[in-house]
Protein backbone atom coordinates (compact mmCIF):
# COMPACT_ATOMS: atom_id res chain seq x y z
CA UNK A 1 0.00 0.00 0.00
CA UNK A 2 1.68 3.19 -1.04
CA UNK A 3 1.49 6.65 0.46
CA UNK A 4 -0.89 8.08 -2.11
CA UNK A 5 -3.46 5.36 -1.35
CA UNK A 6 -3.12 5.98 2.38
CA UNK A 7 -3.48 9.67 1.65
CA UNK A 8 -6.72 9.33 -0.29
CA UNK A 9 -8.12 6.93 2.28
CA UNK A 10 -7.30 9.43 5.02
CA UNK A 11 -8.98 12.23 3.07
CA UNK A 12 -12.05 10.01 2.75
CA UNK A 13 -12.12 9.33 6.48
CA UNK A 14 -11.65 12.97 7.39
CA UNK A 15 -14.46 14.16 5.15
CA UNK A 16 -16.89 11.74 6.83
CA UNK A 17 -17.07 13.98 9.87
CA UNK A 18 -16.59 17.45 8.48
CA UNK A 19 -17.58 19.38 11.59
CA UNK A 20 -15.14 17.53 13.78
CA UNK A 21 -12.37 17.79 11.21
CA UNK A 22 -13.04 21.51 10.89
CA UNK A 23 -13.01 22.11 14.62
CA UNK A 24 -9.83 20.08 15.09
CA UNK A 25 -8.17 22.08 12.35
CA UNK A 26 -9.36 25.39 13.77
CA UNK A 27 -6.82 25.28 16.58
CA UNK A 28 -4.00 24.97 14.09
CA UNK A 29 -5.53 27.62 11.83
CA UNK A 30 -5.63 30.09 14.70
CA UNK A 31 -2.15 29.14 15.88
CA UNK A 32 -0.41 29.36 12.54
CA UNK A 33 -2.53 32.34 11.53
CA UNK A 34 -1.58 34.40 14.56
CA UNK A 35 2.10 33.49 14.29
CA UNK A 36 2.18 34.45 10.61
CA UNK A 37 0.19 37.65 11.16
CA UNK A 38 2.41 38.78 14.03
CA UNK A 39 5.66 37.91 12.31
CA UNK A 40 4.49 39.66 9.18
CA UNK A 41 3.37 42.76 11.10
CA UNK A 42 6.68 42.75 12.93
CA UNK A 43 8.54 42.63 9.64
CA UNK A 44 6.29 45.37 8.29
CA UNK A 45 7.05 47.73 11.14
CA UNK A 46 10.72 46.87 10.93
CA UNK A 47 10.62 47.72 7.26
CA UNK A 48 8.77 50.96 8.00
CA UNK A 49 11.28 52.02 10.62
CA UNK A 50 14.17 51.10 8.35
CA UNK A 51 12.65 53.01 5.45
CA UNK A 52 12.10 56.04 7.63
CA UNK A 53 15.61 56.02 9.00
CA UNK A 54 17.10 55.39 5.61
CA UNK A 55 15.02 58.15 4.05
CA UNK A 56 17.23 60.52 6.02
CA UNK A 57 20.12 59.38 3.91
CA UNK A 58 22.62 56.62 4.34
CA UNK A 59 25.48 59.10 4.23
CA UNK A 60 24.23 60.97 7.27
CA UNK A 61 26.30 61.20 10.45
CA UNK A 62 24.98 62.68 13.65
CA UNK A 63 27.13 64.22 16.34
CA UNK A 64 25.60 64.61 19.77
CA UNK A 65 27.14 65.96 22.94
CA UNK A 66 27.93 63.50 25.70
CA UNK A 67 30.56 60.85 26.15
CA UNK A 68 30.68 57.67 24.19
CA UNK A 69 29.34 54.88 26.30
CA UNK A 70 27.73 51.52 25.81
CA UNK A 71 25.59 52.16 22.75
CA UNK A 72 24.93 55.49 21.18
CA UNK A 73 21.72 56.18 23.09
CA UNK A 74 23.55 57.77 26.00
CA UNK A 75 22.82 61.45 26.51
CA UNK A 76 19.63 62.44 24.78
CA UNK A 77 20.00 65.68 22.89
CA UNK A 78 20.40 68.49 25.40
CA UNK A 79 21.83 66.26 28.05
CA UNK A 80 25.23 67.83 27.65
CA UNK A 81 26.23 71.22 26.32
CA UNK A 82 29.64 70.66 24.75
CA UNK A 83 28.80 71.22 21.08
CA UNK A 84 28.55 74.70 19.61
CA UNK A 85 27.55 76.45 16.42
CA UNK A 86 31.24 77.20 15.99
CA UNK A 87 32.05 73.48 16.05
CA UNK A 88 29.63 73.02 13.20
CA UNK A 89 31.09 75.88 11.22
CA UNK A 90 34.59 74.48 11.75
CA UNK A 91 33.44 71.12 10.37
CA UNK A 92 32.15 72.89 7.28
CA UNK A 93 35.17 75.08 6.68
CA UNK A 94 38.24 73.29 8.09
CA UNK A 95 40.72 72.10 5.43
CA UNK A 96 41.37 68.99 7.51
CA UNK A 97 37.84 67.81 6.86
CA UNK A 98 37.69 66.73 3.23
CA UNK A 99 34.85 64.23 3.11
CA UNK A 100 32.04 66.35 4.47
CA UNK A 101 29.51 67.89 2.12
CA UNK A 102 27.09 69.69 4.39
CA UNK A 103 26.88 70.42 8.08
CA UNK A 104 23.66 71.16 9.90
CA UNK A 105 23.82 72.33 13.51
CA UNK A 106 20.52 71.87 15.33
CA UNK A 107 18.96 73.02 18.56
CA UNK A 108 15.95 71.01 19.60
CA UNK A 109 13.54 71.39 22.51
CA UNK A 110 9.87 70.76 23.11
CA UNK A 111 7.69 73.64 24.07
CA UNK A 112 4.19 75.05 23.80
CA UNK A 113 3.13 76.72 20.54
CA UNK A 114 -0.08 78.70 20.25
CA UNK A 115 -2.12 80.73 17.78
CA UNK A 116 -4.10 82.36 20.54
CA UNK A 117 -7.09 80.08 20.16
CA UNK A 118 -5.43 76.70 19.76
CA UNK A 119 -2.19 75.45 21.19
CA UNK A 120 -0.02 72.37 20.95
CA UNK A 121 3.11 70.99 22.51
CA UNK A 122 5.62 70.37 19.78
CA UNK A 123 9.28 70.14 18.99
CA UNK A 124 11.03 73.37 18.13
CA UNK A 125 14.02 72.81 15.86
CA UNK A 126 16.50 75.62 15.48
CA UNK A 127 18.30 75.01 12.19
CA UNK A 128 20.39 76.60 9.46
CA UNK A 129 19.60 76.54 5.71
CA UNK A 130 21.73 73.41 5.26
CA UNK A 131 19.23 71.39 7.32
CA UNK A 132 16.99 71.19 4.27
CA UNK A 133 19.75 69.57 2.23
CA UNK A 134 21.17 67.33 4.97
CA UNK A 135 17.84 66.03 6.26
CA UNK A 136 16.06 65.95 2.88
CA UNK A 137 13.24 68.26 3.85
CA UNK A 138 11.02 69.54 1.08
CA UNK A 139 8.44 72.27 1.34
CA UNK A 140 4.74 72.04 0.58
CA UNK A 141 4.55 75.79 0.35
CA UNK A 142 6.45 78.96 1.20
CA UNK A 143 10.19 79.08 1.76
CA UNK A 144 12.76 77.71 4.21
CA UNK A 145 15.05 79.51 6.62
CA UNK A 146 17.71 81.57 4.82
CA UNK A 147 21.26 82.41 5.86
CA UNK A 148 20.09 85.95 6.50
CA UNK A 149 17.43 84.67 8.90
CA UNK A 150 20.14 82.90 10.89
CA UNK A 151 22.41 85.93 10.87
CA UNK A 152 19.81 88.38 12.00
CA UNK A 153 17.78 86.05 14.25
CA UNK A 154 14.52 86.76 12.48
CA UNK A 155 11.35 85.40 14.02
CA UNK A 156 10.12 83.18 11.21
CA UNK A 157 8.85 79.60 11.37
CA UNK A 158 8.28 76.68 9.03
CA UNK A 159 5.61 74.30 10.29
CA UNK A 160 5.39 70.54 9.99
CA UNK A 161 2.10 69.28 8.59
CA UNK A 162 0.96 67.88 11.96
CA UNK A 163 1.44 71.27 13.61
CA UNK A 164 -0.51 72.90 10.79
CA UNK A 165 -3.48 70.65 11.36
CA UNK A 166 -3.22 71.02 15.14
CA UNK A 167 -3.13 74.79 15.06
CA UNK A 168 -4.96 75.80 11.90
CA UNK A 169 -6.94 72.72 10.87
CA UNK A 170 -6.48 70.44 7.88
CA UNK A 171 -6.05 71.92 4.45
CA UNK A 172 -5.39 75.46 5.64
CA UNK A 173 -2.33 77.24 4.27
CA UNK A 174 -0.91 79.13 7.25
CA UNK A 175 1.82 80.99 5.35
CA UNK A 176 1.69 84.62 6.37
CA UNK A 177 -0.14 83.93 9.64
CA UNK A 178 1.61 84.20 12.97
CA UNK A 179 2.11 81.83 15.88
CA UNK A 180 3.47 82.34 19.38
CA UNK A 181 6.34 80.30 20.76
CA UNK A 182 7.20 81.02 24.41
CA UNK A 183 5.03 84.11 24.06
CA UNK A 184 7.16 85.45 21.22
CA UNK A 185 5.39 86.03 17.93
CA UNK A 186 6.71 84.24 14.83
CA UNK A 187 5.64 84.66 11.23
CA UNK A 188 4.93 81.45 9.34
CA UNK A 189 6.87 81.50 6.08
CA UNK A 190 6.56 77.88 4.96
CA UNK A 191 5.06 74.45 5.45
CA UNK A 192 7.15 71.28 5.26
CA UNK A 193 6.03 68.34 3.16
CA UNK A 194 4.61 65.51 5.24
CA UNK A 195 7.16 62.75 5.91
CA UNK A 196 4.96 60.21 7.62
CA UNK A 197 4.86 59.51 11.26
CA UNK A 198 5.62 55.92 12.02
CA UNK A 199 8.46 54.79 14.21
CA UNK A 200 9.71 56.59 17.25
CA UNK A 201 8.53 60.09 16.61
CA UNK A 202 6.23 61.96 14.33
CA UNK A 203 8.51 63.79 11.90
CA UNK A 204 5.64 66.12 11.00
CA UNK A 205 5.16 67.31 14.58
CA UNK A 206 7.84 69.99 14.39
CA UNK A 207 8.37 73.73 13.98
CA UNK A 208 11.56 74.95 12.30
CA UNK A 209 13.02 78.29 13.33
CA UNK A 210 16.44 79.86 12.65
CA UNK A 211 19.12 78.29 14.86
CA UNK A 212 20.23 81.57 16.38
CA UNK A 213 16.67 82.58 17.12
CA UNK A 214 16.08 79.32 18.98
CA UNK A 215 19.30 79.65 20.94
CA UNK A 216 19.20 83.30 21.91
CA UNK A 217 15.57 84.44 21.74
CA UNK A 218 13.69 81.34 22.80
CA UNK A 219 15.80 79.23 25.09
CA UNK A 220 18.83 81.34 26.09
CA UNK A 221 21.41 78.71 25.21
CA UNK A 222 24.80 78.96 23.48
CA UNK A 223 25.16 75.31 22.53
CA UNK A 224 23.60 73.03 19.91
CA UNK A 225 21.89 69.77 20.75
CA UNK A 226 23.18 67.94 17.70
CA UNK A 227 25.08 68.39 14.48
CA UNK A 228 24.00 66.46 11.41
CA UNK A 229 26.73 65.91 8.86
CA UNK A 230 26.24 64.80 5.31
CA UNK A 231 29.29 62.93 4.03
CA UNK A 232 30.35 63.18 0.38
CA UNK A 233 29.10 59.66 -0.24
CA UNK A 234 28.48 56.36 1.50
CA UNK A 235 31.98 54.96 0.95
CA UNK A 236 33.74 57.67 2.93
CA UNK A 237 31.58 57.34 6.05
CA UNK A 238 34.37 55.91 8.21
CA UNK A 239 36.83 58.53 7.06
CA UNK A 240 34.32 61.28 7.64
CA UNK A 241 33.63 59.93 11.12
CA UNK A 242 37.39 59.99 11.89
CA UNK A 243 37.92 63.50 10.49
CA UNK A 244 35.00 64.88 12.45
CA UNK A 245 36.20 63.10 15.58
CA UNK A 246 39.78 64.44 15.40
CA UNK A 247 38.70 67.95 14.57
CA UNK A 248 36.26 68.09 17.48
CA UNK A 249 38.81 66.53 19.86
CA UNK A 250 41.31 69.19 18.84
CA UNK A 251 38.75 71.98 19.18
CA UNK A 252 37.73 70.73 22.62
CA UNK A 253 41.39 70.38 23.59
CA UNK A 254 41.10 66.67 24.31
CA UNK A 255 43.95 64.27 23.58
CA UNK A 256 42.49 60.87 24.32
CA UNK A 257 39.70 59.77 21.97
CA UNK A 258 38.29 57.76 24.89
CA UNK A 259 37.56 60.95 26.79
CA UNK A 260 35.60 62.51 23.93
CA UNK A 261 32.71 64.68 25.11
CA UNK A 262 30.65 63.92 22.00
CA UNK A 263 29.36 60.91 20.14
CA UNK A 264 29.21 60.33 16.41
CA UNK A 265 26.85 57.77 14.97
CA UNK A 266 25.51 56.90 11.57
CA UNK A 267 21.99 56.02 10.39
CA UNK A 268 23.08 52.41 10.26
CA UNK A 269 23.76 52.49 14.00
CA UNK A 270 20.22 53.72 14.65
CA UNK A 271 18.83 51.24 12.21
CA UNK A 272 20.58 48.40 14.02
CA UNK A 273 19.20 49.45 17.37
CA UNK A 274 15.71 50.03 16.03
CA UNK A 275 15.74 46.63 14.33
CA UNK A 276 16.82 45.05 17.58
CA UNK A 277 13.88 46.61 19.40
CA UNK A 278 11.23 45.68 16.83
CA UNK A 279 12.87 42.26 16.47
CA UNK A 280 12.53 41.64 20.20
CA UNK A 281 8.88 42.65 20.11
CA UNK A 282 8.19 40.42 17.13
CA UNK A 283 9.87 37.48 18.83
CA UNK A 284 7.93 38.07 22.04
CA UNK A 285 4.57 38.30 20.28
CA UNK A 286 5.28 35.29 18.07
CA UNK A 287 6.21 33.37 21.19
CA UNK A 288 2.79 34.10 22.64
CA UNK A 289 1.16 33.09 19.36
CA UNK A 290 3.21 29.89 19.36
CA UNK A 291 1.50 28.92 22.60
CA UNK A 292 -1.84 28.94 20.81
CA UNK A 293 -0.22 26.73 18.18
CA UNK A 294 0.78 24.30 20.93
CA UNK A 295 -2.79 24.30 22.24
CA UNK A 296 -3.97 23.60 18.69
CA UNK A 297 -1.58 20.65 18.51
CA UNK A 298 -2.98 19.25 21.75
CA UNK A 299 -6.44 19.58 20.21
CA UNK A 300 -5.31 17.48 17.26
CA UNK A 301 -3.92 14.83 19.61
CA UNK A 302 -7.21 14.77 21.48
CA UNK A 303 -9.23 14.26 18.32
CA UNK A 304 -6.86 11.59 17.08
CA UNK A 305 -7.19 9.70 20.36
CA UNK A 306 -10.98 9.86 20.07
CA UNK A 307 -10.70 8.63 16.49
CA UNK A 308 -8.52 5.70 17.51
CA UNK A 309 -10.98 4.71 20.24
CA UNK A 310 -13.93 5.02 17.88
CA UNK A 311 -12.26 2.93 15.25
CA UNK A 312 -10.95 0.22 17.55
CA UNK A 313 -12.97 -2.44 15.71
CA UNK A 314 -11.72 -1.24 12.34
CA UNK A 315 -8.13 -1.30 13.56
CA UNK A 316 -8.64 -4.80 14.97
CA UNK A 317 -10.06 -5.99 11.69
CA UNK A 318 -7.24 -4.49 9.69
CA UNK A 319 -4.70 -6.14 11.96
CA UNK A 320 -6.55 -9.47 11.78
CA UNK A 321 -6.44 -9.28 8.00
CA UNK A 322 -2.72 -8.70 7.97
CA UNK A 323 -2.00 -5.00 8.54
CA UNK A 324 1.40 -4.56 10.13
CA UNK A 325 2.14 -1.97 12.79
CA UNK A 326 3.84 0.51 10.54
CA UNK A 327 0.89 0.58 8.14
CA UNK A 328 -1.49 1.38 11.01
CA UNK A 329 0.93 4.03 12.28
CA UNK A 330 1.21 5.50 8.80
CA UNK A 331 -2.56 5.51 8.40
CA UNK A 332 -3.16 7.57 11.55
CA UNK A 333 -0.08 9.76 11.20
CA UNK A 334 -1.14 10.72 7.70
CA UNK A 335 -4.56 11.66 9.01
CA UNK A 336 -3.12 13.92 11.69
CA UNK A 337 -0.59 15.43 9.29
CA UNK A 338 -3.35 16.22 6.82
CA UNK A 339 -5.30 17.89 9.62
CA UNK A 340 -2.40 20.05 10.77
CA UNK A 341 -1.05 20.69 7.29
CA UNK A 342 -4.43 21.84 6.00
CA UNK A 343 -4.78 23.94 9.14
CA UNK A 344 -1.32 25.35 8.51
CA UNK A 345 -2.07 26.34 4.94
CA UNK A 346 -5.46 27.87 5.78
CA UNK A 347 -3.93 29.57 8.82
CA UNK A 348 -1.16 30.96 6.67
CA UNK A 349 -3.61 32.45 4.19
CA UNK A 350 -5.69 33.86 7.06
CA UNK A 351 -2.57 35.24 8.75
CA UNK A 352 -1.27 36.88 5.59
CA UNK A 353 -4.70 38.38 4.90
CA UNK A 354 -4.98 39.69 8.45
CA UNK A 355 -1.53 41.19 8.33
CA UNK A 356 -2.22 42.72 4.92
CA UNK A 357 -5.46 44.32 6.11
CA UNK A 358 -3.94 45.62 9.36
CA UNK A 359 -0.81 47.02 7.74
CA UNK A 360 -2.99 48.79 5.18
CA UNK A 361 -5.15 50.17 7.95
CA UNK A 362 -2.25 51.64 9.92
CA UNK A 363 -0.23 52.61 6.84
CA UNK A 364 2.60 50.16 7.15
CA UNK A 365 4.34 48.69 4.13
CA UNK A 366 3.23 45.04 3.91
CA UNK A 367 6.11 42.63 4.39
CA UNK A 368 6.35 38.88 4.67
CA UNK A 369 9.48 36.81 4.23
CA UNK A 370 9.11 33.53 2.34
CA UNK A 371 11.10 31.93 5.15
CA UNK A 372 8.37 32.45 7.68
CA UNK A 373 5.82 30.96 5.29
CA UNK A 374 7.96 27.87 4.75
CA UNK A 375 8.61 27.67 8.47
CA UNK A 376 4.90 27.84 9.26
CA UNK A 377 4.10 25.06 6.82
CA UNK A 378 6.97 22.97 8.12
CA UNK A 379 5.95 23.55 11.71
CA UNK A 380 2.34 22.58 11.05
CA UNK A 381 3.47 19.32 9.44
CA UNK A 382 5.80 18.67 12.35
CA UNK A 383 2.95 19.25 14.79
CA UNK A 384 0.98 16.59 12.94
CA UNK A 385 3.80 14.10 13.45
CA UNK A 386 4.46 15.17 17.03
CA UNK A 387 0.89 15.07 18.27
CA UNK A 388 -0.24 12.26 15.97
CA UNK A 389 2.54 9.94 17.06
CA UNK A 390 1.09 8.83 20.37
CA UNK A 391 -2.43 8.12 19.05
CA UNK A 392 -0.95 6.27 16.06
CA UNK A 393 1.23 4.16 18.36
CA UNK A 394 -1.78 3.43 20.50
CA UNK A 395 -3.69 2.25 17.44
CA UNK A 396 -0.81 0.11 16.16
CA UNK A 397 -0.36 -1.61 19.51
CA UNK A 398 -4.00 -2.64 19.87
CA UNK A 399 -4.33 -6.40 20.15
CA UNK A 400 -6.54 -7.65 17.33
CA UNK A 401 -8.74 -9.86 19.52
CA UNK A 402 -9.30 -7.12 22.08
CA UNK A 403 -10.05 -4.71 19.26
CA UNK A 404 -12.46 -7.07 17.49
CA UNK A 405 -14.32 -7.73 20.72
CA UNK A 406 -14.62 -4.01 21.42
CA UNK A 407 -18.17 -2.69 21.25
Amino acid sequence: MDISELFFEAIGTLTLNKLRTGLATLGIIIGIGSVIALVSLGQSSQKAVAAQIQSLGSNLLTVIPGAQSAGFVRGAAGGATTLTYEDARALQTSPQVTTVKNVSPEFSRRTQVTTGRKNTNTQILGVTPSYMEVRKVSLASGSFISARDVESMTKVAILGSQVVSDLFGDGVNPVGQSIRINNISFRVIGVAESRGGTGFQNQDDVVFVPLTTAQKQLFGADYVTSISVEAQNESVMTQAQDEIGYLLLARHKLKDPASADFTIFSQNDILGAASAVTGTFTTLLSGIAAISLLVGGIGIMNIMLVTVTERTREIGLRKALGAKKKIIIAQFLIESIILTFAGGVIGMVAGVATSYIISNMINLPFALSPNSVLLAIGVSGAIGVLFGWYPAQKAANLQPIEALRYE
Binding site: M1, R313, R318, A320, L321, G322, K324, K325, P400, I401
Partner: protein, 232 residues
Protein backbone atom coordinates in the same frame (compact mmCIF):
# COMPACT_ATOMS: atom_id res chain seq x y z
CA UNK B 1 -1.14 -29.39 7.89
CA UNK B 2 -2.27 -28.01 11.25
CA UNK B 3 -0.99 -29.48 14.43
CA UNK B 4 -1.83 -28.40 17.96
CA UNK B 5 0.20 -30.11 20.69
CA UNK B 6 -0.64 -29.69 24.37
CA UNK B 7 -2.06 -26.24 23.91
CA UNK B 8 -3.09 -24.43 27.09
CA UNK B 9 -4.29 -20.89 27.52
CA UNK B 10 -4.43 -19.39 30.97
CA UNK B 11 -5.72 -15.90 31.65
CA UNK B 12 -4.51 -14.17 34.77
CA UNK B 13 -6.73 -11.51 36.18
CA UNK B 14 -6.01 -10.04 39.61
CA UNK B 15 -4.13 -13.19 40.61
CA UNK B 16 -7.14 -15.33 39.68
CA UNK B 17 -6.20 -17.83 37.01
CA UNK B 18 -8.76 -18.84 34.43
CA UNK B 19 -7.93 -21.86 32.36
CA UNK B 20 -9.54 -21.31 28.99
CA UNK B 21 -7.83 -24.19 27.21
CA UNK B 22 -6.40 -27.18 29.00
CA UNK B 23 -3.86 -29.34 27.21
CA UNK B 24 -5.49 -29.62 23.82
CA UNK B 25 -3.93 -31.63 21.01
CA UNK B 26 -5.31 -32.43 17.58
CA UNK B 27 -4.44 -32.29 13.92
CA UNK B 28 -6.31 -30.91 10.97
CA UNK B 29 -5.56 -32.48 7.63
CA UNK B 30 -5.58 -30.67 4.35
CA UNK B 31 -9.08 -30.56 2.88
CA UNK B 32 -10.87 -31.21 6.12
CA UNK B 33 -14.12 -29.50 7.13
CA UNK B 34 -14.16 -29.39 10.89
CA UNK B 35 -16.62 -27.89 13.33
CA UNK B 36 -15.74 -26.94 16.86
CA UNK B 37 -18.74 -27.06 19.15
CA UNK B 38 -19.25 -26.15 22.74
CA UNK B 39 -21.28 -24.01 25.09
CA UNK B 40 -20.17 -20.46 25.75
CA UNK B 41 -17.23 -20.49 28.09
CA UNK B 42 -16.06 -23.84 26.77
CA UNK B 43 -12.97 -22.23 25.25
CA UNK B 44 -13.95 -22.49 21.62
CA UNK B 45 -13.37 -18.78 20.92
CA UNK B 46 -9.95 -18.91 22.56
CA UNK B 47 -9.10 -21.96 20.45
CA UNK B 48 -10.22 -20.12 17.35
CA UNK B 49 -8.04 -17.11 18.23
CA UNK B 50 -5.00 -19.30 18.68
CA UNK B 51 -5.65 -21.18 15.43
CA UNK B 52 -6.14 -17.83 13.69
CA UNK B 53 -2.77 -16.53 14.96
CA UNK B 54 -4.63 -13.74 16.68
CA UNK B 55 -3.42 -14.88 20.07
CA UNK B 56 -0.60 -17.02 21.39
CA UNK B 57 -0.99 -20.06 23.65
CA UNK B 58 0.41 -20.00 27.19
CA UNK B 59 1.79 -23.50 26.73
CA UNK B 60 2.13 -25.92 23.84
CA UNK B 61 3.05 -25.59 20.20
CA UNK B 62 0.93 -24.67 17.22
CA UNK B 63 2.26 -25.63 13.81
CA UNK B 64 0.50 -24.07 10.84
CA UNK B 65 1.65 -25.12 7.40
CA UNK B 66 5.04 -26.11 8.76
CA UNK B 67 5.57 -22.92 10.77
CA UNK B 68 5.73 -22.71 14.55
CA UNK B 69 3.30 -19.84 15.13
CA UNK B 70 3.99 -19.65 18.87
CA UNK B 71 7.43 -18.15 18.29
CA UNK B 72 6.49 -15.25 16.04
CA UNK B 73 6.50 -11.49 16.52
CA UNK B 74 3.41 -9.31 16.07
CA UNK B 75 4.26 -8.31 12.50
CA UNK B 76 5.12 -11.90 11.53
CA UNK B 77 1.78 -13.03 12.94
CA UNK B 78 0.11 -10.35 10.84
CA UNK B 79 1.77 -11.78 7.79
CA UNK B 80 0.68 -15.34 8.66
CA UNK B 81 -2.91 -14.11 9.08
CA UNK B 82 -2.66 -12.26 5.83
CA UNK B 83 -1.31 -15.11 3.70
CA UNK B 84 -2.43 -18.34 5.31
CA UNK B 85 -5.72 -17.70 7.06
CA UNK B 86 -9.07 -16.47 5.81
CA UNK B 87 -11.38 -15.17 8.52
CA UNK B 88 -15.16 -15.21 8.49
CA UNK B 89 -16.60 -13.50 11.57
CA UNK B 90 -20.00 -13.74 13.17
CA UNK B 91 -20.45 -9.95 12.93
CA UNK B 92 -19.11 -9.92 9.31
CA UNK B 93 -16.67 -7.14 10.27
CA UNK B 94 -16.83 -5.31 6.98
CA UNK B 95 -15.60 -1.74 6.82
CA UNK B 96 -18.64 0.55 6.86
CA UNK B 97 -19.12 3.09 4.05
CA UNK B 98 -16.73 1.05 1.94
CA UNK B 99 -17.77 -0.81 -1.19
CA UNK B 100 -17.97 -4.60 -1.28
CA UNK B 101 -15.15 -4.55 -3.84
CA UNK B 102 -12.84 -2.57 -1.55
CA UNK B 103 -13.71 -4.72 1.44
CA UNK B 104 -12.79 -7.85 -0.46
CA UNK B 105 -9.60 -6.24 -1.75
CA UNK B 106 -8.40 -5.21 1.72
CA UNK B 107 -6.22 -8.25 2.55
CA UNK B 108 -4.49 -7.82 -0.81
CA UNK B 109 -3.69 -4.21 0.09
CA UNK B 110 -1.61 -5.45 3.01
CA UNK B 111 0.03 -8.10 0.86
CA UNK B 112 1.25 -5.44 -1.56
CA UNK B 113 -0.81 -6.56 -4.55
CA UNK B 114 -1.10 -3.94 -7.30
CA UNK B 115 -4.26 -1.92 -7.59
CA UNK B 116 -5.37 -3.43 -10.90
CA UNK B 117 -4.82 -6.99 -9.76
CA UNK B 118 -6.70 -6.31 -6.53
CA UNK B 119 -9.69 -5.04 -8.41
CA UNK B 120 -9.71 -7.91 -10.83
CA UNK B 121 -9.36 -10.59 -8.15
CA UNK B 122 -11.88 -9.02 -5.79
CA UNK B 123 -14.38 -8.92 -8.64
CA UNK B 124 -13.74 -12.57 -9.45
CA UNK B 125 -14.35 -13.70 -5.88
CA UNK B 126 -17.45 -11.56 -5.51
CA UNK B 127 -18.79 -13.22 -8.66
CA UNK B 128 -17.97 -16.57 -7.12
CA UNK B 129 -20.16 -15.88 -4.07
CA UNK B 130 -22.92 -14.61 -6.33
CA UNK B 131 -22.59 -10.87 -5.78
CA UNK B 132 -21.39 -9.81 -9.23
CA UNK B 133 -24.09 -7.14 -9.38
CA UNK B 134 -23.36 -5.75 -5.90
CA UNK B 135 -19.67 -4.87 -6.08
CA UNK B 136 -20.24 -1.16 -5.53
CA UNK B 137 -22.72 -1.60 -2.67
CA UNK B 138 -21.67 -0.64 0.83
CA UNK B 139 -22.40 -3.06 3.71
CA UNK B 140 -25.46 -1.14 4.90
CA UNK B 141 -27.02 -1.64 1.45
CA UNK B 142 -26.67 -5.42 1.73
CA UNK B 143 -28.60 -8.04 3.70
CA UNK B 144 -26.91 -10.05 6.44
CA UNK B 145 -26.46 -13.02 4.15
CA UNK B 146 -25.02 -10.86 1.41
CA UNK B 147 -22.64 -9.19 3.85
CA UNK B 148 -21.42 -12.58 5.01
CA UNK B 149 -20.87 -13.59 1.41
CA UNK B 150 -18.73 -10.49 0.94
CA UNK B 151 -16.80 -11.55 4.04
CA UNK B 152 -16.33 -15.04 2.59
CA UNK B 153 -15.02 -13.55 -0.66
CA UNK B 154 -12.61 -11.50 1.43
CA UNK B 155 -11.49 -14.63 3.31
CA UNK B 156 -10.78 -16.41 0.02
CA UNK B 157 -9.06 -13.69 -1.88
CA UNK B 158 -5.55 -14.43 -0.61
CA UNK B 159 -5.99 -18.14 -1.36
CA UNK B 160 -5.36 -19.11 2.31
CA UNK B 161 -4.42 -22.58 3.54
CA UNK B 162 -7.09 -22.41 6.23
CA UNK B 163 -10.52 -20.79 6.41
CA UNK B 164 -11.57 -19.99 9.95
CA UNK B 165 -15.24 -19.23 10.47
CA UNK B 166 -16.52 -18.01 13.82
CA UNK B 167 -20.29 -18.57 14.07
CA UNK B 168 -20.64 -17.63 10.40
CA UNK B 169 -24.44 -17.94 10.47
CA UNK B 170 -24.97 -16.48 13.94
CA UNK B 171 -26.26 -13.13 12.70
CA UNK B 172 -28.10 -14.34 9.63
CA UNK B 173 -31.70 -15.35 8.93
CA UNK B 174 -32.16 -19.14 8.72
CA UNK B 175 -32.95 -19.24 5.01
CA UNK B 176 -29.80 -17.30 4.17
CA UNK B 177 -27.78 -19.38 6.63
CA UNK B 178 -28.37 -22.40 4.42
CA UNK B 179 -27.00 -20.54 1.42
CA UNK B 180 -23.89 -19.60 3.39
CA UNK B 181 -23.37 -23.20 4.44
CA UNK B 182 -23.80 -24.30 0.82
CA UNK B 183 -20.95 -21.98 -0.12
CA UNK B 184 -18.74 -23.44 2.61
CA UNK B 185 -19.54 -26.92 1.40
CA UNK B 186 -18.69 -26.03 -2.18
CA UNK B 187 -15.39 -24.59 -0.98
CA UNK B 188 -14.63 -27.75 0.93
CA UNK B 189 -15.53 -29.86 -2.08
CA UNK B 190 -12.98 -27.82 -4.02
CA UNK B 191 -10.28 -28.72 -1.52
CA UNK B 192 -10.36 -25.81 0.97
CA UNK B 193 -9.61 -26.61 4.59
CA UNK B 194 -12.31 -25.15 6.83
CA UNK B 195 -12.53 -24.90 10.60
CA UNK B 196 -15.84 -23.53 11.83
CA UNK B 197 -16.98 -22.64 15.31
CA UNK B 198 -20.65 -22.97 16.08
CA UNK B 199 -22.99 -23.88 18.86
CA UNK B 200 -25.82 -24.88 16.51
CA UNK B 201 -25.90 -28.62 15.86
CA UNK B 202 -27.67 -28.28 12.52
CA UNK B 203 -24.93 -25.99 11.27
CA UNK B 204 -22.19 -28.23 12.65
CA UNK B 205 -23.76 -31.12 10.76
CA UNK B 206 -22.40 -29.70 7.52
CA UNK B 207 -18.88 -30.50 8.71
CA UNK B 208 -17.22 -33.86 8.26
CA UNK B 209 -15.64 -33.83 11.68
CA UNK B 210 -16.89 -32.30 14.93
CA UNK B 211 -14.86 -31.52 18.04
CA UNK B 212 -16.80 -30.92 21.23
CA UNK B 213 -15.19 -28.71 23.85
CA UNK B 214 -16.18 -28.46 27.49
CA UNK B 215 -14.26 -26.46 30.13
CA UNK B 216 -11.28 -26.11 27.83
CA UNK B 217 -10.98 -29.82 27.08
CA UNK B 218 -11.89 -31.92 24.10
CA UNK B 219 -14.68 -34.26 25.17
CA UNK B 220 -15.46 -35.74 21.81
CA UNK B 221 -13.66 -35.76 18.47
CA UNK B 222 -14.99 -37.70 15.61
CA UNK B 223 -16.35 -37.97 12.14
CA UNK B 224 -20.04 -37.80 12.43
CA UNK B 225 -22.02 -40.35 10.58
CA UNK B 226 -25.03 -38.46 9.47
CA UNK B 227 -25.28 -38.44 5.77
CA UNK B 228 -23.93 -35.24 4.21
CA UNK B 229 -26.26 -33.14 2.28
CA UNK B 230 -26.46 -34.33 -1.26
CA UNK B 231 -24.31 -32.35 -3.60
CA UNK B 232 -26.13 -30.31 -6.12
Amino acid sequence: MIQLSHISKIYKNDSVETIALDDISFKVKEGEFMAIMGASGSGKSTLMHIMGALDLPTKGTYILDGEDVGKLEDDELAEIRNRKIGFVFQAFNLLPRTSALKNVAMPMVYAGVSKEERKEKAKKFLEMVGLADKIDHTPNQLSGGQQQRVAIARALVMNPRLILADEPTGNIATTQAEEIMAIFQDLNDNGHTIVMITHEPNIAEHAKRIIHLRDGKIVNDGNHHKQRRVKR
